[in-house]
Every structure is written in C-alpha cells, then in structure tokens.
C-alpha cells in the first residue's frame, strides 16, 4: 500500500536522518534524505516527494525559507516541521505558511505514526479533490465561442473583465447570437464555477408559472402543487442565475425579483419560511428595454439593477468574417455526433453561406450546417446540400425577358445540384431530355 508514498527527510543531523529513514523504510515508503536546503531542492527537482519532514533550524537556508521554495516547486507536498524546541511562535508561523503539522524532537513513535497516516490521508483527499475539480471544469466548459471579428474580440475582453467580479451582467443581442453561451462562459470563468448555473427562459412561461419556477412553492400553494418544490433562485444558490429573455417578465414578477436581488432572500409561493440565497445574476434580452421603460412595461428600477455591465453581441451579418470558422466548427461538431465523414465545404457553398444575411444568426447557421450534413452525400458540402431558403436569398433579382429568367434559373439549379442532371430535372420538375434541350438552347456550361 505504501510503496507509492515518497517521503523526504531534511535535517542537518545525520543521526536524525538515519533514524527517520530507517523508521519509514520499515513501513515500505520510498525515503530520501537531505542534510541541507540545497540538497533538498536538488532532490525535489529530481522527483516528487509527497511528504517532507523538515527541520526548522538548519545552517544556511532554514526550514521556514525552504518551505516557501518547496511550495514554488510543488504546492501539494505535505510539509511536517521537526523542531527541537517547541515554541508557539514557530509552530504558528509554520502552520500559517501552510505546513501540515509540526513535531518536537525526540518524537513519540505513536505520534509520528498517526501524523504520517493522517498526512497520507490528507494528501490522497487533496489529490482526489483536485482531480474532481478538474473534471468539473471539464464538464462545465461551455461550447467554444468562435469569433475572429474585432467586435467579437471586444466581447471576449469584456467577458474576461467581468467574469472575476460578482457584477450583474446584461447580454444584449439578436435572437440566436449565442447570449446563453456568453453567460455560460462568464460563469465558467468566475469564482462561482463549482456551483450551478441555472437558466430560466422568462419568455417561455405564463405569469403564474414563472413565479412558481423562480421562487418554488410549498405543498398546497395552488391547485396542482402536490409537493414542495425548490425554485430556480434556490437552486442557483452559490452559483449563477441566468434570466433569459428578461424583457418578457411581467411587472409583478419584476418587482418580486428586484426585492430578491436587493435583499438576497425570499419565501416560496404559499410559504412563510425566509430562504437566504447568494447568486450572481446574468440576464439576456433581444428587446429594446429602454423603449419598454419609456412605455412603462418594464420597471425603471429593475432595469437599472440589471443593466450594470452590458455586453452587446453583434449579429452575424455584421461579422461575416466569422462565418467560415463557425462553419468549420459546426462541421467538426456534428461530424462527431452524426458519424458522417463530411470534412469540408466547397468554395461555392461557402460563398453562399457568407453572402446570406442570417436573420436567425449563429443558431440558424448551425441548423443550416446540421441539415446540410444530413442530406450531404459526399465528403464535401455543396450548394445543393444547403437548405432551400439559403438559395432563395442568394437568388439575383429577377429581371429581363422570360427566356432570360429561365436561363438564369436553370443555370442556378444546375449549379446547386452540382450539375447532376437527374436531380436538377427533379427540382425543375421537367424531364431530363427537356433539361438537356434547354442546356443546349441557352449554351449553358459547367463552371
């Protein structure tokens, strides 16, 4: 069991080093010994030592100073000080510097045995805790936010600035711009990241339901409330509450929420028990809240309480340079989930994607790529794989004679279908011979 535990004895007295080395070797530990700080630091460079027994008084660099150096090399090593003369000051200083404990020479074998057993347990727990935290970070990592445009770089800077604080953040942006993704990125980079981020879509719920969702309810609070239920405010305790579509909250709930934000306490619907909560608020809206305040449909005090730090996400049409990296990102994301080997987008298809205005923003783009990958037959997405509404948007305005319009339309469909005559004829709802005749008539050639 102990063969993986390594222990370093640092003491200028050889007899102490020899005795402790022997004592711990009998326990099966890997034991090293150093007579001074320099040798200890050299051994620390060579391998990791989980437990370090450190003499406080040594010639040259003393134990206290050495401890600080050790911490720079390995912050997780457990340090136990050995002192010949126990003084409260030294002990307090050692413990303040992060030592696990200290022992006085001569050491009681029973004390030493318990101390090291506890140190090993503590070390194992610390390592497990670290591993679990890393896993939590991995699990709670939000999807990647893709953006190379200067507007997005500004957004990233703002996320970095505000994440470490507890400030309320309002994220503005059109539908589908990735407001929730930004909220998750702020949470994931905040001190609250080991607690939950609880999302509530305020626009999707009627008045009474939203109130119950936010505040929870006691049993029998209303018809159908058969159980006591915790609300989102309670669930978000310690973490972040993300209020999506905050502009859709009714006036009464706005007032109730304002009270909670101010006092950090509330009662469940139908209950009297005061529940204290601690959460950070991030909200998002695509509405013109300033106009809503002017019209009296959004409380001014609530608006000012929420609009402390505002982040605006530009629509996709204003940062077309981000479309190719986004397309590639969605391509690889859905390739994994679909198990389809579609690896690229043809230049024509990419051109279409860039020229499109994307009223539904990034969400619409992702849906378009996902759908194209479902229908795509080759390893490259071609214009024909893209949803039809894209092609409509790219269609040049119709003008000129009827034969001109027909020529342009046939050429367009042929391009869309990658000059697959059968499929093009199906789209045009004419037979293949007629299509060949039209191609010949208009002198169309594959570009």
């Amino acid at each position: 069991m102990n063969d993986t535990i390594s222990l370093l004895v640092v003491d200028d007295e050889q007899i102490v080093r020899d005795s402790l080395t022997k004592w711990f070797r009998e326990d099966g530990y890997v034991v090293g010994a150093a007579e001074n700080a320099a040798e200890a630091l050299r051994l620390l460079q060579e391998q990791r030592w989980q437990i370090i027994l450190l003499d406080i008084k040594m010639p040259g660099m003393d134990g206290m100073e050495l401890q600080q150096r050790i911490r720079e090399i390995d912050s997780h090593a457990i340090i136990i000080f050995i002192t010949a003369h126990a003084s409260v000051d030294t002990a307090v200083q050692a413990l303040k510097c992060g030592a696990f404990d200290y022992i006085t020479k001569p050491i009681d074998p029973d004390h030493l045995s318990h101390l090291v057993t506890n140190a090993i347990k503590q070390h194992a727990l610390a390592m497990e805790n670290l591993k679990l935290k890393e896993q939590v970070v991995e699990f709670s990592k939000p999807d990647e936010i893709i953006g190379e445009a200067s507007q997005m770089k500004k957004v990233f800077e703002m996320i970095k600035t505000v994440a470490g604080t507890d400030t309320t953040v309002m994220i503005r942006g059109e539908s589908g711009t990735g407001k929730e993704l930004i909220a998750r990125a702020i949470h994931a980079n905040s001190q609250r990241r080991y607690f939950p981020i609880v999302t509530i879509n305020c626009g999707a719920m009627p008045e009474g339901v939203l109130e119950s969702e936010l505040f929870g309810h006691e049993r029998g609070a209303f018809t159908g409330a058969q159980y006591r239920r915790k609300g989102k405010l309670e669930l978000a305790d310690g973490g972040t509450l993300f209020l999506d579509e905050v502009g859709n909250i009714d006036m009464k709930t706005q007032m109730d929420l304002l009270r909670v934000i101010e006092s950090k306490q509330f009662a469940r619907v139908g209950g009297n028990e005061i529940i204290k909560v601690d959460f950070r608020i991030i909200c998002a809206t695509n509405k013109d809240l300033e106009l809503a305040v002017q019209r009296g449909t959004f409380r001014e005090d609530f608006y000012y309480r929420l609009n402390v730090f505002s982040i605006s996400i530009p629509p996709l049409r204003e940062r077309k340079g981000d479309i190719p990296p986004l397309v590639n990102y969605f391509l690889s994301k859905h390739r994994r989930t679909m198990g389809k080997n579609i690896t690229s987008v043809s230049p024509e298809a990419m051109d279409m994607l860039v020229r499109y205005d994307w009223p539904g923003n990034v969400r619409e783009l992702e849906n378009a790529i996902e759908r194209a990958m479902v229908v795509g037959k080759s390893c490259t997405l071609v214009p024909g794989d893209l949803p039809f509404q894209l092609s409509e948007s790219n269609h040049e305005p119709l003008s000129g004679s009827l034969s001109d319009v027909e020529r342009k339309h046939i050429a367009y469909v042929l391009d869309q279908q990658n000059w697959n005559i059968t499929r093009s004829a199906e789209v045009l709802q004419i037979d293949r011979v007629t299509l060949y005749n039209k191609i010949h008539k208009y002198g169309l050639r594959r570009g």
Binding site: I15, P106, P109
Partner: protein, 199 residues
Amino acid sequence: MSCLRQAGAGITKQFYVLRMSSSVHIINSSSLSPDELEHVSRSVEAIIGARVHRSHLRVELERAFDSSRGQYNSSVLLAQLLSLKQSLPGKIIALVDVDLYVPVLTFVYGEAQLEGAAAIVSTHRLHNSFYGVDENRPLLIERVEKEIVHELGHTFGLFHCHQFECVMRSSTYVEEIDFKKATMCKECEGVLYRKVRGS
C-alpha cells in the same frame, strides 16, 4: 508436523526445509529464565522456520547508555551485534531489559537492520508493570515472541504490514502488540519465502 501447522499460512515442506537451512542466534541479556528462553526459541523457530540457537555471548549495555535520557541507544547496540557476525553466522538477535531509543524517537520496542544480520528487542515496555498493571508472565513471553519474530522479519527484508493480525504490523503501543498474532499473514509469508529462496 505440529510445528508446521503452528507456522500456518500454507507453508510447504520444501520451504520449511529451505528456511531451516538458515539460523538465528539469540543473545539473552534479559531477565528471562532459561526455560522461558527455551520456550521463546522453539516458538520463534516454528514461526520463522529457521533454526534458533541460544548464544552465551552478552551485550555490553553500558556503551549505549545515554545519561541525559536515561535510556540506551539501540542503534549503538545494533552496531555492537553486527561486529559479532564472524563468530555467529546467520541472524543475530539480542534480548535486553533496558529501555531502548533511537535519537529522534522517544523510545523503540526494538530495532533491526533491514535485510541485514542483526536485530534487538527490549522487554522494558513489554512488562505489564511498566504500565502500572499486575505482572503477567505468560503475556510477557507472548509479547517477546511477537517482537522477536517482527524484528527478525525485518532482517529477512520484510516491511511493515497493514493486516491487523499480522506480526509484521507496526506497533507503537503495547495494546497493538497484544492485538496482533505471532504469525505472518499469507502475503508476508510469501515475501519471506521469496526472500529466503533468493538468498
């Protein structure tokens, strides 16, 4: 055969014969009577499986005495035993009544040279009277047996064991010695087998 059963832990006859080819010399500088020492020797022989000889040599305790602590430095005594290697081939274990210490520790029940030739055991803290309780001679003999087997185990290269009942479990107070058995667990027995076969 009864010895084999006592040694326990699935010991084979071949292994028993192999181990009997090694020998242990006990130097008694304690107050144990010849009969008690004979009993201890036979028990240790059965458990370790090595021939146990009683030596008439004595340990010079005075050289290891530390007047400031009122105790005897066990490492000094161990060095003294190692100097007897020429005249006593095999393992040497000394039994003393004095309170032993190693410089950094307040006391030790015994000390051994890991995978070496010598070991020492003190009866000082094995007496009930040390803890203010009525003396119990059979219990003392049992404790002595366990400590001798434990320290000899170290000389054969065994580390401390985590099995509660194994004689190789580390004991820092006397109740722990009473809790464990005088024999080794299967794992330690196996390690001992490999060590003896390899030597």
